[in-house]
């Protein structure tokens, strides 16, 4: 499935953000400088929902702040819509940000918050009123124009933050972990809302998140990051099915990382198989699989059942199958999967 990523890049889409060998180090007083980003190269296309995904401290938020202009890169160049923005402060970039803490102005009403960006651009009053109405409509907060941020729930504040950032119609909308403060149910709702807003406005969205499920559900493409490096860029499908790195395989969804030796193969390789691709059957059935072992634990997940199997060579793996349990703990089993679903990575 590697061709998917290639086809995406060869399609001649205009590049909205070009990040060219960007590094960022923070000088600390007592320790060595912290390298938050190490020679990062990325192209984010126009009208794309792009996600920077990684654990905390991977540099994703730093990259976002570099694009917004809150920090300057130590080296490298950032171009937005073809223009080098190195010398531009945040107020001169066609980029708006939705902050993790929303950062709504507490002394202004919802409408005043949303109007702020347009006012600062000296837009005529009539246009401001129209855009504010439009933006509040877009996030379904029509009746809340005169409220103060403190009178709104977390979910509503989130919507105001999105409306405020969208009202000036920027070329790029940056979203810094926008859903992390919401509870699970609201989060799911906002995920599809943001996706809808991206499609309706045609604005390039750059989302920062540590939640791989969120990234898979919302993004057109994802960049997986770890400790200042971009490990892999691709569509959610591509990254899930074809991880090119042990970390990516482990971080995105659930994976079994099996040492080659455990399967009687090249010990310098790691075999990556998703739990849902592994079929577990009793030894008595006579199927010849990749390895044999014993069921060590069974977890009932509602629609699925999760088996934990300890292989004879000592490695442990998980298998997820539809329906209820047909095996019991201690059963001797054969584990099998199609060759097409496994990935072989260097250790």
């Amino acid at each position: 499935m590697a061709f998917e990523a290639v086809s995406m890049q060869s399609r001649n889409v205009p590049v909205m953000i070009d990040i060219h060998s960007v590094s960022k180090s923070f000088v600390t007083r007592d320790a060595d400088p912290v390298h938050a980003l190490k020679d990062v190269n990325l192209e984010i296309y126009d009208n794309e929902f792009f996600t920077l995904l990684g654990p905390s401290g991977c540099g994703k938020t730093t990259l976002l702040r570099l694009i917004a202009g809150f920090e300057a890169p130590s080296s490298g160049a950032i171009r937005i819509a073809g223009n080098d923005v190195a010398a531009l402060p945040p107020q001169k970039r066609p980029v708006n940000t939705v902050f993790q803490s929303y950062a709504l102005f507490p002394h202004m009403s919802v409408a005043e918050n949303v109007a702020f960006g347009l006012e600062m651009q000296n837009a005529p009053k009539a246009l401001i009123d129209e855009r504010v109405r439009e933006a509040l409509e877009m996030v379904r907060l029509e009746g809340f124009a005169t409220r103060r941020p403190s009178q709104l729930s977390g979910g509503q504040q989130q919507r105001v933050a999105v409306a405020r950032a969208l009202a000036p119609k920027p070329s790029v909308l940056l979203l810094d972990e926008p859903l992390s403060a919401l509870d699970l149910k609201l989060r799911k709702g906002m995920q599809s809302e943001l996706k809808r807003l991206q499609r309706e406005t045609g604005i390039t969205f750059v989302l920062v998140t540590h939640d791989q499920e969120e990234a898979l559900a919302m993004s057109d493409r994802i960049a997986v990051m770890r400790s200042g490096d971009v490990l892999q860029v691709g569509t959610p499908r591509d990254i899930y099915d074809n991880p090119q790195d042990r970390f990516v395989a482990d971080f995105i969804g659930e994976s079994n990382l099996l040492p080659g030796a455990a399967l009687g193969r090249d010990p310098a390789k790691t075999i990556v198989v998703r739990p849902e691709h592994i079929v577990v059957s009793p030894v008595a059935d006579g199927t010849k699989g990749h390895a044999t072992g014993a069921v060590s634990a069974i977890t009932f997940l509602g629609s699925d059942t999760l088996y934990e199997v300890v292989l004879e060579e000592g490695a442990k793996l998980h298998s997820r199958s539809r329906g209820g349990a047909s095996l019991s703990t201690g059963d001797r089993v054969v584990v099998d999967w199609a060759h097409s679903v496994e990935r072989e990575l260097a250790n």
Partner: protein
Amino acid sequence: MGPNRTWLLIAPAMLVIGIFMVLPLFLAVAYSFMTANPYGGVTAPATFDAYLQFLYQRDFDDSLVFSPSYALIILRSIYLAIATTVICLVLGLPVAWYIVCQTPERRRILLFAVTLPFWINTLIRTYCWILILRDEGLANGALRHAGIITDPLPLLYNDGSILLGLVYTFLPFMVLPIYSTLERIDPRLIEAAHDLYASRAAVFRRIVWPLARPGALAGATLVFAPALGSFLAPDLLGGGKKLLIGSLIQMQFTSSRNWPFGAALSTVVTVVVLTVFVIRSRRVQEERR
């Protein structure tokens, strides 16, 4: 809990407020309606004389002649107190902003520096200004040494030196409340404003100042009220040539031995300050709506 028990719980607070705040005020108002005892203190009967004395002079034939001299002293005092407040605000806001922008460690040091003058007696600190400003003082000496002047500048004993002394004394009361409101401003708000195309000036005007205003108002209150009643700086740095209300009141209780008049003046000042506060708090409430 019954109403009786509730009363018991509030009682200590009421007692403190009563003894330390209401009673002295009540005494001052009561004294202002009494007759002066030439040896100090007050005696019966109750009269309005003290208030009449404020606006009228009693002529030899016992008729009352309008005399604005005391009212002018109050006006001049209000003018100097307002000037002190405005100068403190103009100086205090940038200082508070500068401190907020520092690392937590440097903030502590700078805040300590702001409160440092509290550790030395105000009288001594004010007297030090005389040493600096007088004709043979540090300032004139330095200027003469640098060859900028030959004759000493009249730096002492004028409105300028009074103002300087007042600003110097009350500046920390402006810096600290502004600092405490600025400190609570989420730095993300400033980033968000820049992100929404606001220039530095616009960020100050639309975000920082509106959020710092409650602190500035508190600071203005803390500076204006004591500056109005202050008598140290006017006496020492003004040379006592032109009376201010604080010195005038102090005189009534010491050399003049006219306690009712001193109390009446205090009451007038209190009414002026309270009026300013009431107007202010009304306006704040209107803004909140």
